[in-house]
């Protein structure tokens, strides 16, 4: 083992220990509610990585991605709650949710194959809304989804008889429910990251990049554009479905309102903000945008500290600041916080013809 790889190993081990201890540190430092936020952040990382396959790798702008999260969540909720009196185990439900969501990905992807750019965006957005509206209204004439009330009392995930919904003592250490979910989500997030990395650097990943760059040339190079696009939709959707199932078990309650358009947009913001196509960037974006709105809840305390009393209700101010943060981050890092290698080169390249041409388009103003 040479110096360099030993160094990499040390970083890995340190990172591993850090991630393992994180919930305890957060619990001690910020409180139990922040462990739950941590869990949610991991779910969003999975979602963002799923959408990254569709948007970042294959270049297909999908504004209805949350629908697959919803499909996964409802899949779990309906088969593990008093709703139909079914209580299937999680190791059936999670793959099933991913599979069903993947099928939905193909189903909704098929009609969009000829569409480009913003047309694709609006159609996927439409599909997202259609699914949400159906979830909202399928309580009559036959009650399937329980409508706007949502599904209650969903079984917590339980592994080998160990329910993650309750505090457990293992090896003499007490783990609260959010702690337990943290470890499950962490493992699955690592799996999703691994799969994402492997896919990006593969024959399929190159084909995705090719259709993102130039669909006509890709087809002329022998890529079956239809199948490769559907594969991206299916793969992205199944990540979403997996995360959805986990969400349902974690929350114990879901309703259509959790799956509105704004959620799709947030996930898109995560990947663009972090750095589309770049896995560390996407992870950073997801964590940041999950944590930021929560952190902004503390503005109330800040106001008290600085001004003596709360001038503006923090819940009113929170989203405003969040909006400003989105704008500012984009203005200062238009390629994202951690741009992918391609984008970095795209922006830093001096003196390349295509770029000069592009620039001269807007030199017209001088």
């Amino acid at each position: 083992m040479n110096q360099k790889s030993r160094h990499a190993w040390l970083v890995f081990v340190a990172l591993g220990i850090g991630l393992a201890l994180l919930p305890f540190l957060v619990d001690a430092g910020l409180g139990r509610s922040w462990v739950r936020i941590l869990d949610l952040a991991l779910l969003y990382v999975m979602l963002a990585l799923g959408l990254n396959i569709v948007v970042g790798y294959a270049g297909l702008l999908d504004l209805g991605y949350i629908a697959f999260y919803a499909v996964g969540a409802y899949c779990y909720a309906l088969l593990a709650s008093p709703m139909f009196g079914l209580h299937l185990p999680f190791w059936v439900l999670l793959p099933l949710g991913a599979l069903v969501a993947g099928l939905f990905g193909v189903l909704l992807g098929t009609p969009t194959l000829r569409l480009r750019g913003d047309y694709l965006a609006i159609v996927t957005l439409g599909f997202g809304e259609i699914i949400r509206i159906f979830l909202n209204n399928l309580n009559a004439p036959i009650n399937i989804t329980n409508g706007p009330q949502g599904v209650n009392q969903i079984d917590p995930i339980s592994i080998a008889g160990l329910s993650l919904g309750k505090t457990q003592v293992l090896f003499g250490v007490t783990f609260s429910s959010p702690h337990l979910y943290y470890y499950l989500f962490l493992i699955l997030t690592l799996v999703v990251i691994f799969v994402s990395m492997r896919l990006q650097d593969s024959r399929i990943g190159r084909a995705w990049a090719a259709i993102r760059e130039d669909e006509v040339a890709a087809e002329a190079m022998g890529i079956n554009v239809r199948n490769i696009k559907l594969l991206a939709f299916a793969m992205g959707a199944s990540f979403g479905g997996l995360a959805g199932g986990l969400f349902a078990g974690f929350q114990g309650f879901i309703s259509p309102e959790s799956f509105n358009l704004m959620e799709s947009i947030m996930i898109l913001c995560m990947i663009v903000l972090g750095g589309m196509g770049n896995i560390p960037g996407v992870i950073l974006g997801a964590v940041l945008l999950t944590v930021l709105p929560e952190a902004l809840r503390y503005i109330g305390d800040l106001q008290r500290a600085w001004l003596g009393h709360v001038v503006i209700d923090p819940s009113d101010l929170r989203m405003l600041l969040f909006g400003f943060a989105l704008i500012l981050m984009m203005l200062f890092r238009p390629a994202g916080l951690l741009p992918s290698r391609q984008r970095k080169r795209e922006l830093s390249a001096a003196g390349d013809i295509a770029e000069q041409e592009q620039a001269s388009v807007y030199d017209a103003r001088h």
């Binding site: 593969s202 024959r203 190159r206 990049a209 130039d214 002329a220 190079m221 022998g222």
Partner: protein, 262 residues
Amino acid sequence: MPGTESMAALLRVEKISKRFGGIAALNDVSLVIESGEIHGLIGPNGAGKTTLFNIITGLYTPTHGNLDFKCCSLLGMKPHQVLKLGIARTFQNIRLFANMTALENVMVGRHARSHAGMLGAVIRNAATRAEEAAIQRRSRELLELVGIDRHRHALAKHLSYGDQRRLEIARALATDPALLALDEPAAGMNPTERETLKDLIVSLRDRLGLSLLVIEHDVKFIMAMCDHISVLNFGEKIADGTPQQVRNSPAVIEAYLGAEVA
């Protein structure tokens, strides 16, 4: 030209017509490309050369006519199916994957000749690893063949114009074609680059046994290299034969002089 009918016909274009709206871009064009020949396609601007190219490679569907390649008809095939049968192409206005490296561009060309799927990509088993290594090796060879291996890690869009054209040829070669169709491969090149390109094209035929279909404006360039030339004008074929025959064809002289006068 009935004399050219032979056993070795690779691509047979039969009475192809193409209309866009009311306008006829091609009218009853027939030609035969034989195995191992360099076939030139020339004609004034708007003669229908690129339209014919797009029909052969599956991008357009002809209004009438038939195309036979090796065994089967190409009618109704999609571009990726045509490619799989062994016809690869380059584009007049260069369509590289601009934000991928030169090497990655060529590796994409291997897509149709490799098999790894999702599962292989994720578990990266021995077969997949071997395939990836073979793709890399072959792609490097082709970059070397066209002479731009030293730029393999540069983004395609950062290459010089001539190198971009060469990269497009390497990418097309990566698909293991029997027929390589080049749409104005020498456009924008200086005389030295043209000379190198000509040598490359001839060596592709001589060393790899490829057949080539080349569109070019530069008549001198094409006369010097082609075995057989077809001339299009206003969507119709006006001449067909060896460079010598074409050069002496009254119809061709008239078309070119006419074009020049206008």
